[in-house]
Amino acid sequence: MALNNPSGAAVTREQELIARVQRGHNDEFYELVRPYERRLFAAAVAILKNEADAEEVVQEAMLKALANIRQFRAEARFSTWLIQITVNEALMRRRRERTVAMEAIDEKQEDEPEYTPRDFADWREIPSEALERKEVRQKLAAALATLDRKYREVFVLRDMEQLNIEETAEALGISVASVKTRLLRARLMLRDLLASGWQQGWFSRLPFEKGTKPWG
C-alpha cells in the first residue's frame, strides 16, 4: 500500500501531509490520523478495557503526536508511530489509575504452564458474512476480553493492529521471545473460545436467512 511505503521514490499524499503539518498547518493533522483512528482506539481499549478511558487516551495521545510531529522521521511508518504513542499513553494511564494491589496480582503469574488446545474437531471456518452482524462482533470482543491482559495486549497489537513481532515488543516494552510465547497462547485460547462459540451457535445464521424458510 502506497501509504506505508516511505522509501519509495514517489512522495505519497501522507508524506506530503506530514510535511505540511510539520511546517505548522496543524489544522490538517486530523486528516493524517483519521485512517488509523479505529486501530488507535482498539489498542487503547485492549490496555484499559474501558471505552470512555480509551477515547480520552486516544485524544491525549494525538495531541502529543501533534506536539511532537517534527520528531517523526520518514523512515518509520506513520501508523506505527501513532500506535506507539497511544500505547504509551494508555500504559501510563493504567499505571496511574490501578491500585498497587491490582498491579501486583496482574504481574504475579509469569511462568504459566503451556496451554494445551482442548478442541480437536474438524475446524469449521467462520463465514466472513458473520462479521457483518454486530452481535457476532460483540461475542468475539467479549471472548478477547476474557484473556489475561498480557495475552490480550500482545494479540491486539499483533493481530488486530498488524504490528510485527518486533514492533509489538517495543511498544509494550517486553522481549521478542515474550511476544511470541504470549501470542501463541492468546491464539490457542481464542481458538478454543471460538470452537465453543460454534457450539453455542454464534456464527450460525438464522434458518430463513439462508433462504430455507422455516415453514417450508
Binding site: N26, M62, A101, D119, D122
Partner: protein, 203 residues
C-alpha cells in the same frame, strides 16, 4: 511422524506467521499430513488471525472521529497551550505516581489506598462539585475538554469521587495535582514510569 503434537503446537503460531525455518516447516507439514488434531489446531488458529484481523472488528463508539477532530482542531488554534499541555501530562503522571507510591510505601498497607488521603487528589477541595461520565474512572470539572458527552454526566463532590476510587483529570484539575509530590521513597526512579509501582511488589 518425527514430531510430537506438543512440539507442533509450540511452533504453530510461528508457523502461521511464516517464521519457522525450512527444515522445521517441512517436519511440521509432514506431521500434519498424518495428524487431524494438529490440522484442526492450525485451521482454527488461522481463522482466529483472519477473523480478528478483519477491519470490521475495529468498532469505535459513535461520534468518536468527530470528537477527536474537534479536540485536535481546537488545539490547533492554540499552539502555545498545546505545547504546555504536552509537557504537563507526563509531569503530572510522574507526580501522581510519586504521590501514590510515597504514601503506600510509608503505610505499608494496600487497603490504605481506599482512604481519601491516599489518593493523588487529596488537595482538591472536598466539597468541589465534579462530574464524570458513566463507566469512566476519571472525574472532571464541568466544561472540561475531555468530557465527550455532556448529556448523562454524574455529579458528586470531589470527596465522594475520590472515596469511590475515581481519579482526577490531569487537565481540568491540574492546579490541585501539581502539589501532591510526596517524599520520594528510596530507590524510586522517577525517570521510568514503569518502575515505581513494580518496585513495591512484596517479596
Amino acid at each position: 511422524m518425527g514430531m510430537t503434537c506438543e512440539h507442533v503446537w509450540r511452533e504453530i503460531s510461528n508457523y502461521v506467521d511464516g517464521g519457522v525455518e525450512a527444515g522445521l516447516r517441512a517436519a511440521m507439514d509432514e506431521h500434519m499430513r498424518e495428524c487431524a488434531r494438529c490440522r484442526s489446531v492450525l485451521a482454527g488458529m488461522r481463522d482466529v488471525v483472519r477473523v480478528y484481523g478483519d477491519q470490521r472488528m475495529l468498532d469505535v463508539p459513535s461520534g468518536f472521529g468527530q470528537r477527536l477532530k474537534r479536540r485536535l482542531v481546537r488545539n490547533a488554534r492554540q499552539p502555545r497551550w498545546l505545547f504546555w499541555t504536552a509537557w504537563l501530562v507526563p509531569v503530572s503522571a510522574v507526580l501522581l505516581i510519586a504521590g501514590m507510591v510515597g504514601y503506600v510505601n510509608f503505610s505499608g498497607s494496600y487497603h490504605a489506598l481506599k482512604s481519601p488521603h491516599a489518593q493523588p487528589g487529596k488537595n482538591i477541595p472536598p466539597q468541589l462539585a465534579v462530574v464524570m461520565q458513566p463507566g469512566a474512572r476519571i472525574f472532571h470539572l464541568a466544561g472540561c475538554d475531555l468530557i465527550r458527552n455532556d448529556h448523562d454526566l454524574i455529579t458528586m463532590t470531589a470527596k465522594d469521587a475520590i472515596a469511590q476510587g475515581f481519579t482526577p483529570c490531569t487537565r481540568c484539575l491540574r492546579k490541585y495535582l501539581s502539589i501532591v509530590l510526596a517524599p520520594r521513597p528510596p530507590g524510586l526512579d522517577l525517570d521510568g514510569d514503569a518502575r515505581p509501582l513494580e518496585a513495591l511488589r512484596r517479596p
